[in-house]
């Protein structure tokens, strides 16, 4: 822990009924501290979100802050369903009365239509294309035209959702869905459709 021994000694010898020795520390540091011969240390877990795919699918996933509130992406959009509901009650813990259990409404899991392997391939292509054309940003969306399911959605530049606190806020928006673009050739579909309807 990054603290002077003198400071820690001061806290330990004080008369406080409780003092925090550290802010968030990783599990490795916690294990090291747990192995110390001093007993009376309280090691409490603080939940944290982690993303095994690191930066992949960053825009679509979004991030979760340290209070458990999701922001941007599906973490933010489905915040209520993912987080569940906390329950609180004043409960009598004396062994003479019957025990009441406080049951919270668990958070629901979310299954996306995204295909992880496809997403990986798409992101690789996007990265190469950006390098080849020396572009600043780009997006690729792969969609199943029959069902509308999004199989992959990649945008660059990306960020690491696990380090949301260090991220430039302009990166958090998903360019594929939240940014405005000029239609370009896509407009031809609309003119064609209009022509077909009028000619019918």
């Amino acid at each position: 822990m990054q603290q002077s021994r003198y400071e820690i000694l001061g806290v330990l010898q004080s008369d406080q009924s409780f003092a925090l020795l550290s802010g968030r520390v990783s599990a490795e540091v916690a294990d090291l501290v747990r192995a110390l011969p001093y007993d009376g240390l309280q090691i409490d877990p603080l939940p944290r979100r982690f993303y095994p795919q690191n930066e992949m699918l960053c825009h679509s996933l979004g991030y979760v802050d340290f209070d458990g509130n999701g922001g941007s992406g599906v973490e933010g959009y489905y915040q209520r369903e993912l987080a569940g509901e906390a329950a609180s009650a004043v409960v009598n813990i004396s062994p003479l009365t019957s025990q009441q259990s406080v049951i919270a409404h668990e958070g629901a899991d979310l299954v996306l239509t995204i295909d992880r392997s496809l997403q990986y391939v798409v992101e690789e292509h996007l990265r190469q294309a950006l390098q080849e054309y020396r572009a600043v940003s780009g997006s690729i969306i792969v969609m199943n035209p029959k069902t509308g399911a999004i199989l992959a959605m990649a945008s660059a530049p990306c960020y690491a959702p696990a380090e949301f606190y260090e991220t430039d806020p302009s990166l958090l928006l998903n360019p594929a869905v939240s940014q405005q673009h000029e239609p370009g050739s896509v407009m031809k579909l609309i003119t064609m459709a209009a022509a077909l309807i009028l000619a019918w």
Binding site: D39, I43, Y51, V74, L82, I93, D109, L110, L112
Partner: protein, 78 residues
């Protein structure tokens, strides 16, 4: 008029009597019951996010917070 005053005094006496009974006589009993009660907050775990084939895209882990209660610890050495 006098009857109203007497009735009010009677009512006041009853209220004060009940208060004394509640706080002074039964006081320790209520305090003991309150001491047994605890506010329990159950916080649910956040749901995970999977892709269409079940691969994990977002899951939960924990950081730790280290605290100490110096007033309660028995050995003053560190």
């Amino acid at each position: 008029m006098w009857i109203v005053v007497i009735i009010l005094m009677f009512a006041a006496l009853i209220i004060v009597g009940r208060l004394v009974a509640f706080q002074v006589v039964q006081g320790p009993e209520w305090a003991e019951r309150a001491g047994d009660e605890v506010l329990v907050i159950a916080k649910p775990e956040r749901g995970s996010i999977f892709d269409r084939n079940g691969a994990v895209l977002a899951a939960n882990t924990a950081d730790y917070q280290i605290g100490v209660s110096p007033a309660w610890s028995l050995n003053p050495k560190s």
